[in-house]
């Protein structure tokens, strides 16, 4: 938990932004796939902190990559250098470790791309190999970061493979198979990844759920335990789960 200074924001076109914060403790401690909860000083509306995966770090700085879609993310995109936010984190359980020489395929949908830069950096350091499969509706919805190459799929064929990123991977599976599969993106995509590949390779899914606290305090972010009765908490037990740990269905006391 630290008061973090905004260093600057870069617009990536559309409603996408990257904001850089001076946040030494989080930059030091964060693991790929972990997230932070950001709240705005002196502001009661929005009231709750907002969840963001840590996109990348550099020295004492943390980068958050986000789509400005509502009150909180819009406010974040309008912060200026020198403004302060409170950043709680790093929170949650990130992606698992990968040994040197192993191959990971990283499947991302839309702004799920946020998790890639830090993940790629750490995999490189580990001397693990990876390949990124990135899917979006159209070319303009695809997200790219400098120096990170991706194999793209678009629903309308405007860039790369014509079809979903899941179809693209299915095709690629016929030639090759990774040691692990990591996925981050919309729930529909995660469900498809789970059902298509969950049984084939060790697969890890980074889930999104509405969160009030991010710390396991509120029980607001349940994710159904596979087969079992109860729920995991997306914030504390996740946001990254092994594919076979969770169900995307419902199922509460009232069922």
């Amino acid at each position: 938990m630290e008061l973090s200074q905004v260093l600057g924001t870069r617009s990536l076109g559309g409603n996408l932004f990257i904001t850089r914060f001076r946040s030494p403790n989080i930059a030091f401690a964060v693991l790929p796939g972990q997230f932070v909860m950001v709240s705005f000083e002196g502001v009661l509306d929005p009231l709750l902190p907002r969840a963001f995966s840590v996109c990348d770090v550099s020295g004492e700085d943390v980068f958050l990559f986000y789509a400005a879609i509502g009150k909180g993310t819009r406010m974040m995109s309008e912060l200026r250098a020198g403004d302060m936010v409170t950043m709680n984190g790093p929170l949650g359980r990130g992606f698992p470790d990968v040994s040197a020489g192993k191959m990971v395929w990283i499947v991302v949908g839309g702004s799920g791309m946020a998790v890639v830069p830090l993940l790629a950096r750490r995999l490189n350091r580990r001397d693990a190999k990876f390949e990124i499969f990135s899917g979006a509706r159209t070319e303009s919805h695809l997200v790219h970061f400098d120096g990170i190459s991706t194999r793209d799929a678009t629903d309308d064929g405007s860039k790369g493979y014509h079809g979903t990123v899941v179809d693209l991977i299915k095709e690629s599976f016929q030639k090759d198979k990774p040691d692990k599969l990591f996925a981050c993106g919309p729930t529909r995509m995660l469900e498809a990844v789970q059902s298509e590949f969950g049984g084939t390779v060790p697969t890890y899914l980074s889930v999104e759920a509405p969160m009030a606290c991010g710390m396991g305090f509120c029980q607001g972010c349940p994710i159904r335990i596979a087969g079992g009765e109860g729920y995991y908490l997306a914030c504390k037990d996740g946001p990254v789960f092994r594919s076979d740990e969770i169900d995307f269905g419902m199922g509460g006391d009232s069922e």
Partner: protein, 312 residues
């Protein structure tokens, strides 16, 4: 010179008036990552039930202007696992523990109270007679004065330590409910649980939380709960514990002036888990600045002519 911030609720002596609100900091031990929980007046546990409960289906929470709605559905590990897994940790961390219980039958409240009664680590019991989010959450009892009195009385018979009744605000005259709790032997009343609220997703045309309505908390509800704390303070002699929308130290002071003996921190913990630290500092400086030596001088010190109230 520091002012005296200690307060008493029945025989329970608190080092300061700040408590956690049930269900807003897990089981309390998780808070220790952010500050020493021994510094709190008390920790109130998540509502515990006889058996573990997995809680309601998602979505369970949504944000509204200056507040949130929740429908957690009393998801909890059950009283036994709390006692075996959590209580020893809380004890080791030096926390003062108040256990909050919920049930769907009067008998179960009694059973829960009996289980807790023997535990030296537990300093008091808060009866949740007010959860708006489960069919068996006590709201039916909590909005029926006779039932509230009866359950309080039954629990009182088996529970010798400090007994607090947490009231629902979703009634017309909360003072009458507080009187019933007092009459049945409660040592204090918590005012109040969440308000019944609702929000709609205009694109899907569905409720934003799955149980349609949810419990409304946060700064938005503070003026409502303030009026109710003042009403209850004027209706009963036992201490009132305020719970509703406290974010800054000023909010806590407002409640104390309006008649609260202690103040629970709820939704604020989701954003500022160590809020109690800043709030205690704020109260302390305020007391010194205003020349107040003890919280007793502040509590209920509102200068107000009740004749000016349109409806008493």
């Amino acid at each position: 010179m520091n002012s005296d911030l200690t307060v008493e609720i029945g025989s329970l002596h608190l080092k300061n008036p700040l408590m956690t609100a049930s269900g807003t900091c897990g089981y309390g031990d998780e808070l220790e990552d952010y500050f020493p929980i021994s510094r709190l007046g008390a920790i109130v546990s998540k509502s515990l039930t006889l058996k573990p409960k997995k809680g309601n289906e998602p979505p369970r929470i949504t944000e509204v202007s200056c507040g949130m709605l929740n429908s957690i559905g009393l998801a909890n590990i059950g009283v036994q696992r709390f006692i075996s897994d959590k209580l020893p940790v809380l004890k080791r961390l030096g926390a003062e523990v108040i256990v909050n219980i919920a049930a769907k039958r009067a008998d179960d409240y009694v059973s829960l109270a009996e289980i807790v009664a023997g535990l030296p680590e537990v300093k008091g019991l808060e009866l949740n007679l007010s959860c708006p989010n489960v069919k068996e959450g006590g709201l039916e009892f909590g909005s029926d004065i006779a039932a509230l009195g009866r359950i309080t009385d039954l629990v009182r018979r088996v529970y010798p330590e400090v007994l607090i009744v947490k009231l629902t605000p979703n009634v017309a005259r909360i003072g009458e409910f507080a009187k019933a709790a007092e009459g049945a032997g409660a040592n204090g009343v918590t005012v109040a649980n969440t308000y019944v609220g609702m929000a709609v997703d205009i694109y899907r045309r569905t409720p934003k939380i799955r149980s349609i309505t949810g419990g409304f908390s946060g700064p938005a509800i503070k003026p409502l709960t303030m009026a109710k704390v003042f009403e209850v303070h004027n209706a009963v002699k036992i201490p009132v514990i305020a719970s509703g929308g406290v974010f800054g130290w000023q909010d806590a002071v407002e409640y104390l002036i309006a008649g609260a003996t202690a103040v629970e921190l709820g939704t604020v913990l989701f954003r500022i888990p160590d809020a109690s630290t800043g709030i205690l500092d704020g109260i302390q400086s305020y007391m010194v600045r205003e020349g107040l030596e003890s919280l007793r001088e502040l509590i209920g010190s509102l200068k107000a002519n009740l004749d000016r109230m349109p409806h008493k």
